[in-house]
């Protein structure tokens, strides 16, 4: 394990930015989001949830993947390159877990090569959480607030120092390049990390227990809930906006669209939301999910039943963004409670 004095972080970022495009939580107009690092950027490592999760770095909100040229009846199609290497610094364990979850879908056969290439180009440096937010419930999903097993490098904030541990070859390769900035951690470091992890997890688990936000058995409980009345109640106040889906670290639905300028044009894929009425609207006007009820049900069933059925993992990491940001407080913990898992 290594460590770095927090005063040296700007030097570290500068070096990382030389290696690859560096994204980290930056505060601008009072909002903290993952943004490219530049000198003087107001990096904020205290915020737990950036407003938008770093999902967009592996799965951009819109992504051009081919250029076409149309001339009369002639068509030319040329694939476009994916952006080069990048580093994500300071991703929280829940957000990293979100990426690991959508990996399962995109890397599943047939492999989504666009996603894979972008994913392979990135190195993720996680930052463990010391304290939970009021809306945190990652422990419900067997995640650890203080540790991210899916990151390439894990770091922990110990006040004066950031502890640094590469977790795989990619992480080791990057760490090797930063040798002069990192120093060996002392013998107590591993113990300190262990304590941080345990404290963070137990604190959050207590909150989860208090609210009844545990998810054990929810998948099984939802298996016969397609026609349940739980949906009658929860969907009614839904405004049909895409806040929950677009801020979710695991939502991954997309649309494919063309943009043209005369004979030239681009095809791109972009985020789409199952909350929108036109998401499943067919060309001839029929819609298998005609009202917000079916759409809300789809969103929660997808996260808590369909995704785990297909990939053996819930498509929720308990980051709490939907809990915090839904304009009318439709929140997944309410569905979890209403579904009623096994005690």
């Amino acid at each position: 394990m290594k460590k770095i004095n927090k005063e040296k972080l700007p030097a570290l970022w500068e070096r990382l930015a030389d290696e690859a495009a560096l994204y980290l939580p930056v505060e601008e107009d009072g909002v903290v989001n993952f943004a490219p690092w530049k000198e003087g950027a107001a990096v904020n490592l205290d915020v737990i949830n950036t407003m938008v999760p770093p999902k967009h770095l592996v799965f951009p909100q819109s992504e051009n993947y081919l250029r076409f040229h149309v001339e009369g009846s002639k068509l030319e199609i040329e694939p476009l390159d994916v952006d080069g290497p990048y580093v994500v610094f300071g991703a929280r364990p829940c957000d990293v877990a979100g990426i690991a979850i959508i990996d399962k879908l995109f890397l599943d056969e047939p492999c989504d090569t666009l996603y894979k290439e972008r994913r392979d180009n990135g190195t993720i440096i996680s930052l463990g959480c010391n304290e939970p937010e009021e809306t945190c419930f990652c422990t419900s999903f067997d995640l650890e607030p203080g540790f991210s097993p899916d990151a390439d490098i894990s770091t922990w904030d110990l006040g004066e120092y950031l502890l640094w541990e590469p977790r795989n070859e990619k992480g080791q390769a990057l760490t090797a390049k930063l040798d002069d900035l990192l120093e060996a951690a002392d013998s107590g470091a591993a113990q300190a990390v262990e304590k941080l992890r345990q404290d963070a997890a137990s604190r959050e688990a207590a909150v989860v227990r208090e609210h009844g936000w545990e998810v054990q058995g929810v998948k099984e409980a939802l298996e016969d809930k397609f026609d349940s009345e739980i949906w009658d109640e929860i969907y009614r106040r839904c405004l049909g906006c895409g806040v929950c889906t677009y801020l979710c670290p695991t939502c991954h639905c997309f649309d494919v669209q063309d943009y043209s300028k005369g004979q030239e044009g681009l095809r791109f894929r972009c985020w789409d939301s199952c909350m929108f009425g036109d998401f499943t609207l067919m060309a001839h006007g029929e819609n298998p999910r005609p009202t917000q009820k079916e759409r809300v049900r789809q969103r929660f069933m997808h996260k808590l039943l369909y995704y785990p059925s297909n990939f053996e993992v819930y498509a929720c990491v308990g980051c709490g963004r939907c809990v915090r940001k839904c304009p009318v407080s439709i929140d997944i913990t309410q569905v979890i409670k209403a579904a009623g898992g096994v005690e």
Partner: protein
């Protein structure tokens, strides 16, 4: 002050939404009377100045217009009696709003030009073109793809 090659060679592109009943006819008259006006101007015929939706204006800027001009009948002379009175309010609100977003107000103009004012049409087009030329290329709402 250094001027880039692009700016030196800058020829503004101006989209004019011209009312079918007056300004478009005014443009025709300018043409048939052999009054010249700058080739920078591309006229799109609309049934009335009140037909000009803000969507049209923004799309013109997105797709490369350096200036947008709406040309309609003089107030009181609308073919549909009141269309341009509505347009006056709506386009006024739009013009101030575009300025609030940061787009120089000179880039969005409204003029009343009747079917008999061929000379005025040519003169306005000339003036607008020069004004936009002086402002330089517009990049503020341009779709860069």
């Amino acid at each position: 002050m250094s001027v880039s090659a692009e700016e030196q060679a800058f020829e503004p592109l101006i989209i004019v939404f011209g009312c079918n009943w007056c300004s478009y006819a005014g443009g025709d008259l300018a043409g048939t009377s052999r009054m010249s006006y700058p080739p920078n101007v591309r006229v799109i015929r609309v049934p009335c100045s009140s037909r000009v939706s803000p969507n049209f204006v923004l799309r013109a800027f997105q797709r490369g217009a350096d200036g947008v001009l709406v040309a309609g009948c003089h107030p009181g002379d609308c073919h549909y009696v009141t269309g341009n009175y509505y347009a006056r309010r709506r386009l006024s609100a739009l013009r101030r709003f575009l300025e609030f977003i940061g787009i120089e107000p000179e880039r969005f103009e409204v003029h009343w030009i009747s079917g008999s004012e061929g000379a005025k049409f040519a003169k306005v087009m000339g003036e607008v073109t020069e004004k936009i030329r002086a402002l330089g290329p517009n990049r503020k709402m341009r779709d860069v793809r």
